[in-house]
């Protein structure tokens, strides 16, 4: 609950923050730019890694990479671009208004972040349909459609790490570096294109990063095995990163109140 306000008021204020988030998202990422840059880039990235998979391990590795890159296509929005949510406030000198508002700043940030995982998931949906239509039985198969909820969960968990990275980097003006490094780290350690068990220390890092367990669930689902345990692990990892983000925002707010500066460095 936020600053002693009732549930109805909290819901209304959160709704207003979500509407503002959508408008801000459209202002920063006009539909034309999303359609002509973000989505084609995700598709081309998938094609590139699918062909690389074919080169290094034949059709099995190609399909492995396709399943992984469908999930990785989320990160452009949910890890890299979502950092705009706190960064724009810092650059626009509006953080103090959120800090002094009645709703907790982290709740406002969350409510304003929803377009990123939502658009990321739509991108995955579009790419999945294209993969199934183009590759048919040669690809990972139509079963992918039934596993889209796993990708929806990964959209949320990757947004959690994206927000955590953004707020951790806020004071150092390294948001571009941190968000992109997180994205590369996820590509390297999540098992998106590098099968697990090849490099042990990457597997260890991957187990605390989003996408690793979600992708394991998708791969288990494709081979007809249960997915619940991996999905729970994915949700737990997302929860940890969300907590990191929430604690960091709380510390930033406390520091801003103490020193009277909302620029964080």
């Amino acid at each position: 609950m936020s600053s002693g306000i009732g549930t109805d008021e909290l819901a209304w204020r959160s709704w207003r923050a979500a509407v503002t988030g959508w408008r801000e998202f459209l202002a920063l990422n006009p539909p034309r730019v999303l359609a002509l840059s973000v989505v084609p880039r995700a598709g081309l990235q998938l094609v590139f890694f699918a062909l690389l998979g074919q080169l290094v391990g034949g059709p099995a590795q190609r399909n492995y990479n396709i399943v992984g890159m469908l999930a990785f296509s989320l990160t452009a929005l949910t890890v890299v671009m979502v950092s705009d949510v706190p960064v724009v406030d810092k650059e626009s000198d509006t953080f103090w208004r959120i800090r002094t508002g009645r709703v907790k700043p982290f709740l406002v940030m969350l409510a304003r972040s929803w377009p990123y995982p939502a658009t990321g998931f739509l991108c995955v949906l579009l790419l999945t349909v294209c993969v199934i239509a183009v590759m048919g039985a040669d690809g990972p198969g139509p079963r992918l459609i039934w596993l889209l909820p796993c990708y929806a969960l990964m959209a949320v968990t990757t947004t959690a790490i994206g927000l955590a990275g953004a707020v951790l980097a806020l004071g150092r003006r390294v948001d571009i570096l941190v968000s992109n490094l997180l994205s590369y780290g996820i590509l390297l350690c999540s098992g998106a294109v590098l099968p697990t068990g090849r490099i042990e220390w990457l597997d260890r890092i991957g187990s605390v990063l989003p996408m690793r367990h979600g992708l394991a669930a998708v791969r288990a689902g494709l081979s007809g095995q249960p997915v619940a345990a991996e999905l729970l692990a994915e949700a737990a990892v997302g929860g940890i990163w969300l907590t990191v983000a929430a604690v960091t925002v709380a510390l930033l707010v406390r520091r801003a109140r103490r020193v009277g500066d909302d620029h964080f460095g």
Binding site: S37, L44, F48, L187, L188
Partner: protein, 260 residues
């Protein structure tokens, strides 16, 4: 004549120093010069099924040149856009010194710095991964690397002019990366591409750099690939000169030095 050459060399050197300072602390040095090649090399080399030493050498060269293309788009390709953004483009174009030489110097510095980052990252990650990389003909390899840097410089100049005349230069940079990764013939051998797209890579100098360097790794100097690399680099430099002149003329004709 000697004095004129010395003056030109000074302009290039001063532009290089200016670009080096501009790139200090730029996150793209780390992202495209270190993170991207390390991740690409790791995920492909570790997933490779029964690779030969030649295949791994070719892969490392392909990763390095792919990263060079990415860096060229963002670093060298963004030089004039950055001048425009910082309000120094008009001074550069109307100055006493040749703006083309300044663009060349800045692009050369950007490509050289990116190449040093990329070469270091690829070498260290190959060593950590235990990849048996080979350098069969060191002098040919050195020549190939230097030509790849000059070619990247020329490509950067050309892209810099093209990105300047659009308001959506960043979106173009982003959009151009993966198509060339796919059809450029650097990491992906041509037989893996659809036949109608295979010819595209013949226009990309870095593809010929990849072929030449892959040859030198096995002690073979692929002279046709070397000539193609040199020829395309010259073509890029000439096209960049024309594009730059056209951009400047347009700016003078319309009296808008912000160009877009």
């Amino acid at each position: 004549m000697t004095e004129r050459l010395a003056s030109m060399a000074w302009v290039v050197w001063a532009a290089m120093r200016s670009q080096r300072r501009a790139m200090r602390g730029n996150p793209f040095n780390i992202l495209l010069g270190v993170a991207q090649p390390v991740v690409f090399l790791t995920v492909t080399a570790a997933a490779y099924r029964d690779p030969t030493a030649d295949e791994l050498s070719r892969l490392a060269i392909g990763v390095a040149l792919t990263a060079l293309w990415g860096s060229t788009i963002w670093a060298a390709g963004g030089i004039l856009r950055r001048e425009h953004g910082e309000g120094t483009l008009a001074a550069m174009i109307t100055g006493v010194r040749s703006p083309y030489l300044m663009l060349f110097g800045k692009s050369l510095a950007a490509t050289t710095i990116s190449s040093l980052f990329i070469a270091g990252s690829v070498a260290v990650s190959a060593w950590l991964l235990g990849l048996p990389l080979r350098v069969g003909a060191p002098w040919w390899t050195l020549l190939g690397v230097l030509l790849a840097v000059v070619s990247g410089t020329a490509l950067g100049m050309l892209l810099s002019c093209l990105f300047l005349v659009t308001r959506h230069g960043w979106a173009w940079s982003s959009a151009l990366m993966y198509p060339v990764f796919i059809v450029g013939g650097m990491m992906l051998p041509l037989p893996y591409l659809p036949v109608p797209l295979q010819w595209v890579s013949t226009l990309i100098s870095l593809r010929w750099a990849a072929e030449f360097l892959a040859g030198t790794a096995t002690d073979v100097a692929d002279i046709p690939a070397l000539l193609a690399l040199i020829g395309l680099t010259v073509v890029y430099l000439v096209l960049a000169a024309f594009a730059f002149r056209a951009v400047v003329r347009r700016a003078l004709r319309t009296a808008r030095l912000d160009l877009v």
